[in-house]
């Protein structure tokens, strides 16, 4: 073999090893990173998902379930974050409730990272940042940026086409790893299917009355800044959207019916397969638009993008977009207010003994005013047994 070829071989092998080591360290750091969460005064117990279905016990998706129990009979509400970890307003809002909420009547259950596996992977080809940081009065708080679907390291291979259980509706192959396409789950299925099955077991055994799944959506998508509601939740959702639009949000929040023909989504399947009324909340996230410009942490947190704005000028968006963008405090603020308003509306439609009373969580205006970080607690400032990891 020529000397030159040998040299090229040696050099390329060396560079490849360097690339693998440098990138591998970053992947490893991302996958093993632990996010501390301070259990606020309202948290009375923390269980894990594996308590409800052995099929997820000890797996990466054996996530924490935070119980905020008033001890006084009332409604049970499950606030669900982290279905799609590329939509950070969802897990941040859930964390906001865990660290700040106090429950005076009924029970509040909170999931911060519904699909923890997906949060340990960033999507190939999309150039997501691996981490994002929220400034707080006591320093920066770091979070993993995740993918929409579970990590292939935890669920491999995909079928050539995904058939939803139990309806057999055909969906794209990677949707078998999409937590919002695998409801109501399959006890012996792949990890993501087992995860939704475990959550359904939780919802049924804890007798959840209201299920709220938090999301974000690209501005090009028609279902934007809205509540998607199962039949059982229509009244609550309609009233909530009207009140918030009239009294709180500068950009209206709409409402959509959960379509019967689209299977595997939580707003459809949780309502169909349990006594809970199920809803999904959506807020605008320009980071998710395919037409976005530079993909970085700033876009993720500030939600400002010239390309998306330009698309808006051409009338191609379903949400307004200007130079202010859609900052994370606005997105979390909308979610927080929508959850709180939903609970208030629910209470007006229920008898006093079936209500839930939650306080201590900031609403939209306060979050926008003070910033999201103002409401996160310093894990080093509390005793270790109050700190949990996501």
């Amino acid at each position: 073999m020529e000397r030159r070829t040998l040299l090229v071989k040696a050099l390329s092998l060396l560079i490849t090893v360097v690339f693998m080591v440098v990138a591998g360290r970053e992947f490893r750091a991302h996958r093993t990173f632990r996010e501390p969460v301070v259990a606020g005064e309202g948290v009375t117990a923390v269980r894990t998902l594996g308590d409800y279905h052995p099929g997820v016990k000890g797996t990466v998706n054996d996530c924490n379930i935070y119980f905020l129990d008033s001890g006084k009979p009332g409604a049970t509400v499950l606030v669900f974050g982290g279905t799609h970890p590329e939509e950070p307003a969802a897990n941040l809002t859930a964390e906001l409730f865990v660290e700040n909420a106090r429950v005076e009547q009924g029970r509040l259950l909170v999931v911060i990272r519904g699909n923890r596996s997906a949060s340990t992977y960033t999507r190939n080809g999309e150039a997501y940042p691996t981490f994002y940081r929220i400034p707080t009065p006591w320093g920066e708080k770091t979070y993993r940026m995740g993918d929409r679907c579970s990590s292939p390291l935890d669920s491999w291979p995909d079928p050539e086409v995904y058939l939803h259980y139990p309806t057999k509706q055909m969906l794209a192959y990677m949707d078998i790893r999409n937590l919002n396409r695998t409801w109501p789950g399959r006890p012996g299925g792949l990890l993501t299917e087992r995860t939704t099955f475990a959550f359904m077991e939780l919802i049924r055994s804890e007798k959840v009355d209201v299920f709220i799944d938090l999301h974000e959506a690209e501005l090009e998508y028609p279902v934007e800044n809205t509540i998607v509601a199962h039949e059982k939740a229509q009244g609550v959702a309609a009233m909530t959207s009207m009140v918030l639009t009239a009294q709180e949000f500068p950009v209206p929040i709409g409402m959509e019916f959960s379509p019967v023909a689209l299977r595997g989504l939580s707003h459809r399947e949780v309502g169909d397969n349990s006594d809970a009324m199920s809803m999904i909340f959506e807020v605008a996230e320009p980071f998710l638009d395919r037409i976005r410009g530079i993909t970085d942490e700033a876009l993720l947190l500030e939600g400002k993008d010239e390309f998306v704005k330009k698309a808006g000028e051409h009338g191609l968006l379903y949400a307004p977009m200007d130079d202010s963008g859609w900052p994370i405090a606005v997105r979390v603020g909308r979610h927080a207010s929508t959850v709180l308003q939903t609970l208030e509306t629910f209470n007006t439609m229920e008898t006093p003994e079936r209500q839930i009373l939650v306080s201590g969580v900031p609403r939209y205006a306060e979050l926008v005013d003070k910033g999201l970080g103002a409401f996160f607690r310093d894990p080093s400032g509390v005793s270790e047994d109050r700190v949990f990891y996501e």
């Binding site: 959207s241 639009t245 009239a246 709409g254 379509p259 023909a261 689209l262 606005v330 926008v368």
Partner: protein, 194 residues
């Protein structure tokens, strides 16, 4: 960040300030709006939740009975004693394609429904109560342009007329236009028209 853009109003408890906050009603410009009489039937041309919103708002304003049925057909309307039919416009697109809405089928249903309402001597109100979010695409436009010409009056919220479309369109059709500040105020506004 412009704070004013984000913070419009301090939030309040839902129903406490409802009666006051609800309505800014200015009935139409050139043509007098007809009185609204219950019982009211509400449906939608496009399967959007506008009809549910109208019903909820009417219930708040004690404008009863008000029934909403998104699949209401001509047969379901005949002989039920309804005095007013409200049809909300704008289409639902959650899950496009197979799970979406077929606006042409919706328009065909509404045309039959209005025919039946005329036979029953009912007042027909074309409504657009979900703001600019339901005025984005071709399906939204199709449902608006199918319903409004068949109506006796047009009911909208301020946000639906941001570009002045309904002001101009109601003049073009020579129909009374009722503009309510927001969806929450619809019931109270209609009660005023009783």
């Amino acid at each position: 960040m412009k704070e004013a853009f984000f913070v419009r109003r301090k939030n309040g408890r839902i129903f406490a300030g409802l009666a006051l906050a609800a309505v800014f009603l200015f009935a139409a410009v050139a043509v007098q709006a007809a009185p609204i009489e219950p019982p009211i039937a509400v449906t939608t041309c496009g399967q959007s939740p506008g009809a549910v919103m109208v019903k909820m708002s009417c219930a708040q304003a004690k404008l009863m009975p008000t029934d909403s049925d998104n699949k209401l057909t001509a047969d379901g309307l005949r002989g039920k004693g309804y005095k007013t039919l409200i049809i909300t416009t704008g289409t639902s697109m959650k899950g496009m394609g197979a799970a979406g809405t077929d606006v042409n089928k919706e328009i065909a249903r509404i045309e039959e429904l209005v025919k039946a309402a005329r036979e029953e001597g009912m007042l027909v109100v074309g409504a657009h109560v979900e703001g600019m979010a339901r005025r984005t695409d071709a399906s939204d436009e199709a449902s608006i342009k199918a319903v409004m010409p068949l109506s006796d009056m047009i009911l909208i919220i301020e946000d639906s007329d941001k570009d002045g479309f309904f002001t101009a369109y109601s003049k073009e059709l020579n129909k009374p236009l009722v503009v309510v500040k927001d969806a929450l105020g619809i019931g109270a506004a209609l009660a005023e028209l009783k």
